[in-house]
Symmetry: C2
Subunit: 303 residues, 2 copies
């Protein structure tokens, strides 16, 4: 105890305590193209805040593909560099989830897994969220409602599509296959795709869109094509990024509270880490409520 302000060597401390005081979060590459960028920074802020408050550090991990992601997180976990992991995104038959689950590593998934039901996770009910979005459009008098989807391998895409179908079925509305589009098409050639879409003999009068970013692109293409929102086409999308209220018209969107999802994921993980038994195999699914923010893009009548 030489001088007063003395900082112990954390590495040595970690070695003896067999705990690192760190968690890693896997920053996905796949959804980078299709989902809003600000999406993840919000989650990360939430994770870092909570981890910091709990005395944990956060390591950002990533990989160009599923295999690289798995190897990165494996090195960290097996090398005892981190105590647990947070996955920000879930794919169908996700190799990273499988690795973490079968390896018995502590981890939390932000999203749903289609492989295991007994894992720690924080998620919004995407089926219900899409159902709500669709119901809202139906309540505004729409009967021909389309759906713009995200990458097929993401579970969130499938869930939202299901919620949309549920709402349509419940109201006995027809879903024309032509009405369901993958968002990627729009990013590649928004104008052309939208032109074709709006020329359908029986075109939709409203759209449920899987991410706000795509809505921005749609808005732009529609304006160029001379269509008006919401009069010619009403829009509701997901994630409620900061900018949706500044677009013209402002976009109706379902808020998922990304910061809180990150905060909660971190909380669940660290709590499980601190449990003596470390019974992470126990089922623990935390549902974060969503809420629809109605703005002009889905409301015809001006007040």
């Amino acid at each position: 105890m030489e001088e007063m302000n003395f900082q112990p060597n954390l590495v040595a401390k970690n070695l003896v305590s067999k705990t690192t005081g760190s968690i890693c979060v896997v920053l996905p590459q796949i959804s980078e193209e299709s989902f809003s960028n600000s999406f993840y920074i919000e989650m990360i802020r939430g994770i870092v805040k909570q981890a910091r408050d709990s005395g944990y550090d956060v390591i950002i991990s990533s990989g160009a593909n599923e295999t690289e992601e798995k190897e990165a997180v494996s090195r960290l976990l097996r090398g005892r560099q981190v105590d647990g992991a947070i996955l920000l995104c879930s794919r169908k038959e996700d190799a990273v989830v499988e690795f973490l689950k079968t390896g018995g590593y502590p981890f939390v998934l932000v999203g749903r897994s289609n492989q295991y039901d007994d894992i720690l996770s924080v998620q919004t009910n995407n089926v219900t969220a899409a159902y709500d979005a669709t119901r809202h459009l139906i309540s505004m008098g729409h009967t021909r409602i389309g759906f713009i989807s995200g990458p097929r391998e993401l579970i969130v895409s499938a869930d939202r599509l299901e919620g949309y179908r549920n709402a349509m079925r419940e109201s006995e509305l027809r879903v024309c296959p032509d009405w369901v589009l993958e968002g990627q098409v729009l990013r590649d050639s928004g104008y052309r795709a939208m032109s074709a879409y709006m020329s359908l003999s029986e075109r939709p009068t409203a759209l449920v869109v899987v991410d706000d970013l795509i809505s921005f692109g749609l808005l732009r293409s529609l304006k160029e094509l001379g269509y008006r929102v919401p009069d010619d086409l009403a829009l509701v999308s997901f994630n409620n990024i900061q900018l949706v209220e500044l677009s013209s018209p402002p976009i109706s969107s379902i808020d998922m509270d990304m910061y809180f999802q990150g905060y909660t994921a971190s909380q669940i993980l660290i709590r499980s880490l601190k449990l003596p038994g470390n019974r992470s195999s126990e089922m623990h699914k935390q549902i974060v409520p969503h809420r629809l923010i109605v703005r002009e893009s889905s409301v015809k009548a001006r007040i």
Copy 2:
């Protein structure tokens, strides 16, 4: 060497090698309010990519204020948990910079320091960038050009203001004090502030705006007030976020290549870490070129 696939304990390895193979990046809180969110995730992606390729891990650090940030990075560095740090944002008389510099820790600043000139840094020339933006507006025939600034304590705000003033002075154009506004005002009450602004007896016909996000807000307020962009007011802003080309009209913006800035910062830091002498006190300033992307918000004549 029991089994074939064996992962050594990195903590023990680090302890003996006296090197951690990790760097930390300080995620600033201050600019969260005034600058685009997607801004930082881009930098982080660049940092993580380069660090990963160099065999380094990235720890995200943050704090609610300058002091907390300093303590967080201090704990990491003095506790030998990381080998160096990257600062994503520079304030005037920045306490974190001062701590790192006087402590002799390896670090790279993304941005300019007003305290030290002999530190590792990667930056865009914000003075020139703002000069270019202003010159562009002047070349479009504008003479009454205003400026919307960011937080005063950020060096980037001051530099851009200076570049704007330089261009105006060079062209012998007057800068009316009423024309220079702090962005925060607009976020608090965009409509009201903009209404007052446009009612000035001698109001500007063009604006240089410190961040794209503020431009979005301006666009919204102006539309509500019945003004047209670029006819009533032309706009150029900074950072060139993904969404500027999807707004209506698309916003002219100066691209700063955030991903590359992050990538470069990581590269400089890790290179200095690997140097035997670790002569980080050597001056090394990397300037990342910017470029103006002209879009409709600053061009009156339709082609």
